[in-house]
């Protein structure tokens, strides 16, 4: 591994050449920036992994069952486990999806589950991402490069290969493909923060990278037009465009990124869309609180992976606790993502605290509060020096005939020594994630 650490700059140069970037919008302008790679991998022992893997499979299975239930019988609401308000007032709930059962009953084909390891060694789920979780391409290409620049490292260490991610995606697409049609990845285009990933995955999975203009819906069937305006039936779309922009006739009518009438083709079962529309209702920060309860309700099992201790001000008892302990908690706006809308009580002055108290009292449903998890620091290289920074892990779970966990993950670390927020949109870097075979 020492040889790999020495090659840090080479790896980063290669990644720059391959165009490994992500775009961000800052004050209305689009910037592309490199995603800094740190050569010291996060290593997860085989023993730890066995438990994480079982926990993730269980969690994602329950979430898929929840999604099917929410858009059909709503038995979990009738059973009194989740208050109906949490469904209907969730910004991710889409009434338009009521009664639609996607191909093979899979809603979340690719789930990105964000975990951290607490100082006592326990892994804790911080967030579920069931809409368009991104980031798998970074460790994939990092591994490809590190194997080249330091092959001995991988001879000496029994690490699971992670370059099969595209094969997993392809299998998931083939599994739900309707009438053996074309497989496409639908991208909003190069101004999307994850455009590198869209094009890379399309190439590696051997599927078509399509823009909205390439697809057309006729008689509730989706066709790919291609360069020469020929029409080929599309059976599965791995879309990288969010729900509300996917079909200007069904949702946001000003969207230029979407495909008119795609929703109708989908509702009729003529095309599979992954991930399904309406998944946002299950990865809502408010619904997160209920996920361990879902595992018990749908699977009759105890959840293997724990949530961070979470409080919902919606419940009187929790509200009282939150208001009394604001200073030690982290407060999150359920409608925000990407590290936005996260506030640490200990960093707020009296005025800000009074302000957030008022908001919690007037709009309790909008907030969740969590205990701050003291998660472990990982070593990173800063110049020649080794320093420690906070890091999380996004694990990718693929649901097809069975549910599988990719033997790797995206480890993101914060670059600022005082920050706990690792999102790449907030300026962090990433590491490879090694899952040991033994």
């Amino acid at each position: 591994m020492y040889s790999l650490v020495k090659q840090k700059d080479t790896v980063n140069k290669w990644m720059e050449r391959f165009g490994v970037r992500f775009g961000i919008y800052k004050s209305g302008n689009f910037h592309e920036q490199l995603f800094p790679f740190d050569p010291i991998p996060r290593v997860i022992s085989h023993k730890d992994w066995v438990e994480i893997e079982a926990g993730l499979i269980q969690r994602v299975n329950a979430l898929n069952m929840f999604l099917e239930d929410v858009y059909n019988d709503k038995s979990i609401v009738k059973a009194g486990i989740i208050p109906e308000e949490f469904i209907y007032s969730s910004s991710g709930y889409m009434a338009q999806c009521e009664g639609i059962t996607p191909s093979k009953k899979i809603f979340s084909h690719i789930s990105g589950i964000d975990l951290v390891q607490a100082k006592d060694g326990k892994w804790i789920v911080l967030e579920d991402n069931l809409r368009i979780p991104s980031g798998a391409s970074y460790p994939m290409i990092a591994r490809t490069i590190t194997r080249k620049v330091s092959p001995e490292t991988f001879k000496e260490n029994a690490v699971f290969d992670n370059r099969n991610y595209s094969t997993l995606i392809r299998k998931a697409m083939d599994h739900v493909n309707v009438d053996n049609g074309l497989q496409v990845i639908l991208t909003p285009g190069r101004y999307n923060s994850a455009y590198f990933e869209h094009s890379y995955l399309a190439e590696k999975a051997g599927v078509i990278l399509a823009f909205a203009d390439d697809l057309i819906v006729e008689n509730d069937t989706v066709y790919y037009k291609g360069l020469f305006d020929k029409r080929e039936r599309v059976g599965v779309i791995y879309r990288r465009i969010s729900d509300e922009y996917l079909d200007p006739l069904a949702f946001e009518s000003t969207s230029l990124l979407g495909v008119p009438n795609l929703m109708r083709a989908y509702a009729k079962g003529n095309v599979a869309i992954m991930n399904a529309l309406g998944n946002g209702v299950a990865d809502d920060k408010g619904i997160y609180y209920f996920v361990p309860k879902m595992v018990e309700y749908y699977l009759g099992e105890k959840a293997i992976l724990q949530n961070a201790p979470t409080y919902l001000p919606y419940f009187e008892e929790d509200k009282k606790y939150v208001l009394e302990n604001l200073k030690t908690l982290v407060i999150k706006d359920v409608a925000e993502a990407g590290g936005y809308g996260v506030m640490f009580g200990r960093e707020m002055n009296d005025e800000q605290l009074a302000n957030i108290k008022h908001l919690i009292e007037t709009e309790p449903r909008r907030w969740i509060a969590q205990e701050v998890i003291d998660f472990i620091d990982l070593e990173i290289m800063e110049g020649e020096e080794r320093i420690y920074r906070k890091a999380d892990l996004r694990a990718f779970v693929i649901s097809e005939a069975e549910t599988k966990v990719w033997h790797s993950g995206l480890t993101r670390y914060t670059r600022s020594p005082t920050s706990f927020i690792v999102n790449s949109s907030q300026g962090g870097g990433f590491k490879d994630t090694w899952i040991m075979k033994k």
Binding site: A95, E218, D220, S253
Partner: protein, 215 residues
Amino acid sequence: MPNGTVTVGRDSFGNLIRNGYIGDYHNYFEFEATGIVEQTYYCIEEKLNPLYLYPSKYTQPMKDIQKLLDGVTLPPEATTLEKVVLLSAELRKFLAYESGVTSIQTTAEEALVIGKGVCQDFSHILIALCRKNGIPARYVSGFMKGEGFTHAWIEYYENGVWYGFDPTHDRCIETGYIKIAHGRDYSDCALDKGVFSGLAQQKLEVFLKVEEQQQ
């Protein structure tokens, strides 16, 4: 004008949707929908979908709606209709009818801040007020007798039945209104929408006429 295809379906709110598509180049297109409606007393028996109890995109109750609500006390013994009437009366103190001030994208809260609006704004605000008081309410698009514009009103729910109420005219609806679509708010039941691709200016003309048929 090239010929297009038309398909018919229903959306998840139960509305009938006719969907047209023209794949060839064209400079204009038109469609026409006609029908004869037999009027009955306005009441719709239906199982309640709890969806209509919670705020939606255009009816989020923010500061100003909350302030308006704080100023009304509904007598606990009042019937649902009486409550709706009271809320509508209260709303009229803060919103005056004036066209051209708000657009189809104005939310209930925004319209209330402006203090002026059209049938869509009256309906959105009344829906927000009803839902905040636990009364299920939904948005309706449709027509009234005469020529010109489409109209919007609300339905509120009581004991298994949806009843119509027109906040713009501050009255209960019995007959004389032709309902076309309903939903949580305007965004669920626009009467026509469409997209085209290509670099072109567009000009949209809508003609509407409702008249009584001679027996």
